[in-house]
């Protein structure tokens, strides 16, 4: 019936996803396919698809960046909470070495502690090297002794009890459990997630608004068709479906294009950062973000975003058509 309507064969996307469209199902069933009531050419499809692709790309980038920062932050926190530090400051008339050994013994005796070790003088000198230079005689300086305590099970260690014992039994001792750092990291990670979710929300709102404008435009340019459909007794749901079909297709196409772009970008970045891992710049990036890989979950997230944008586009256009029809009844 519709030789005139399709001069070109269906594109790759149409062949892949066209199966979900009712007209395609009819075609597969061997029945002739009528031309769409709302012609695809009457909808400003290309520009809307580009807008949706850009939105999808930004949404996927945001999702990737958020998951990258969150994973890195969780990694840092996991490393930090597995280690605490005891500091023994020099006190007049007290043997700091002996106090440090005592603190180490107390720490090692606590449940959940893997081992406690007093840092050697050369290790202290190395820590201070950036400020005081090399070749220092540490015995001349009143610097505190540090005891590194590695935790086997952070949840099993009673830090309050350990701090209390150190306070009572070791002169000049103080416990640093890095809580300030982990709290800051948590705050930073949470802030990143909130910012990311806000950006995602804004991207989705912008997409919805674009689709609303495009649907209104499509309804306006197809006013005659809508009017005829009304007169021949078409239900609002039928008219909405005719428009929704186009927008679902556009949304899926744009969403997948954008998501593919973001996935390719992540794969390329991951590849180049993986190659430069031995360089100082690469070390810095990998120290911050690991191997800059978003992993299968990230790619799956991009696919979910693309599908979500497609479905959201279809639902938005459907609701817009309903509202438009209600206003002209």
């Amino acid at each position: 019936m519709s030789e005139h309507a399709t001069d070109r064969g269906p594109g790759l996307f149409s062949r892949m996803f066209g199966a979900i469209l009712p007209s395609r199902r009819r075609a597969r069933a061997g029945n002739p396919v009528s031309a769409p009531i709302v012609p695809a050419q009457s909808i400003a499809g290309k520009s809307l698809m580009i807008v949706i692709a850009i939105m999808s790309f930004l949404a996927c980038l945001t999702l990737g960046a958020v998951s990258l920062v969150r994973d890195a932050s969780l990694g840092w926190q996991a490393d930090i909470v597995r280690e605490i530090t005891i500091q023994v400051r020099p006190v007049d008339g007290v043997d700091t070495n002996a106090e440090a050994q005592k603190a180490s013994t107390i720490a090692a005796s606590m449940p959940g502690v893997a081992q406690a070790r007093v840092l050697e003088d050369w290790e202290n000198a190395k820590l201070l090297e950036p400020w005081l230079g090399s070749g220092l005689d540490m015995s001349d300086l009143p610097i505190p002794h540090l005891i590194v305590v590695e935790l086997a099970d952070p949840d099993a260690v009673d830090l309050i009890a350990l701090a209390s014992r150190l306070d009572k039994e070791v002169k000049g001792a103080s416990l640093d459990d890095h809580r300030t750092w982990t709290d800051r990291l948590k705050t930073m990670a949470n802030a990143t997630v909130i910012i990311g979710v806000t950006i995602l929300g804004l991207v989705f709102i912008a997409t919805v608004l674009s689709v609303i404008f495009a649907t209104r435009g499509a309804m306006a340019s197809n006013r005659d068709i809508v009017s005829v459909l009304h007169y021949v007794g078409a239900e609002a749901s039928f008219i909405a479906r005719e428009f929704q079909r186009h927008f679902l297709f556009l949304g899926l196409k744009g969403g997948l294009l954008g998501a593919s772009g973001a996935a390719i970008l992540f794969a390329v970045l991951s590849f180049f950062i993986g190659r430069s891992i031995a360089t100082p710049e690469g070390d810095q990036v990998s120290a911050l973000f690991g191997r800059f890989a978003i992993g299968p979950t990230g790619y799956l997230g991009a696919l979910v975003i693309a599908l979500l944008i497609g479905v959201m586009t279809a639902i938005t256009s459907r609701l817009t058509v309903y509202r438009h029809l209600a206003s002209i009844e």
Partner: protein, 219 residues
Amino acid sequence: MIRFENVGLRYGMGAEVLRDLSFQIAPKSFQFLTGPSGAGKSTLLRLLCLSLKPTRGLITVFDRDVVTLPKADLPALRRRVGVVFQDFRLLDHLTTFENVALPLRVLGREESSYRADVVELLKWVGLGDRMQALPPILSGGEKQRAAIARALIGQPEILLADEPTGNVDPPLAKRLLRLFVELNRLGTSVVIATHDIGLMNQFDARRLVLHEGRLSIYE
């Protein structure tokens, strides 16, 4: 079938364009709706085909009060009324066959279930060899017949035609009138809005004459 009681209609805050209309359209009846340009024929047709609501009075269509009718019930009622527009309102990107089949397609029916009916109707209106043609290449008369076929394919109980012979030559106008009369004999009520006296004189039927928004009826 359709009943008007003291119906008045105004657009916005303007003067009434239709005043105190009271009449009935009986099943299987045939009537011409006539009057000078600007008398309100098109507005009355819009009231009859449920695209306008009166500002006062009562209109019942198939025993339903159109003022209180829920929006969701409108499409089912509209399907019982066939409309032929003066400007045809065929969809240019659909073939004649697809245009005529539109009222059945919106019901969600498969093409195979209505194909034979549409082909038969197109042959009946003399468009059997123009089924695959697009409206832009049809002549005025062909478009008119396609529009009539589209209004008839759903077997409406009443057919409203707005100046159906306005764009055709006299022989074709006569042929179209015969088509309407035959349709009426088969049981469909027909309302033809026209100001073509010659056409009305060809068939003895009830005349609804609108003048300055008021209706006179000549049985």
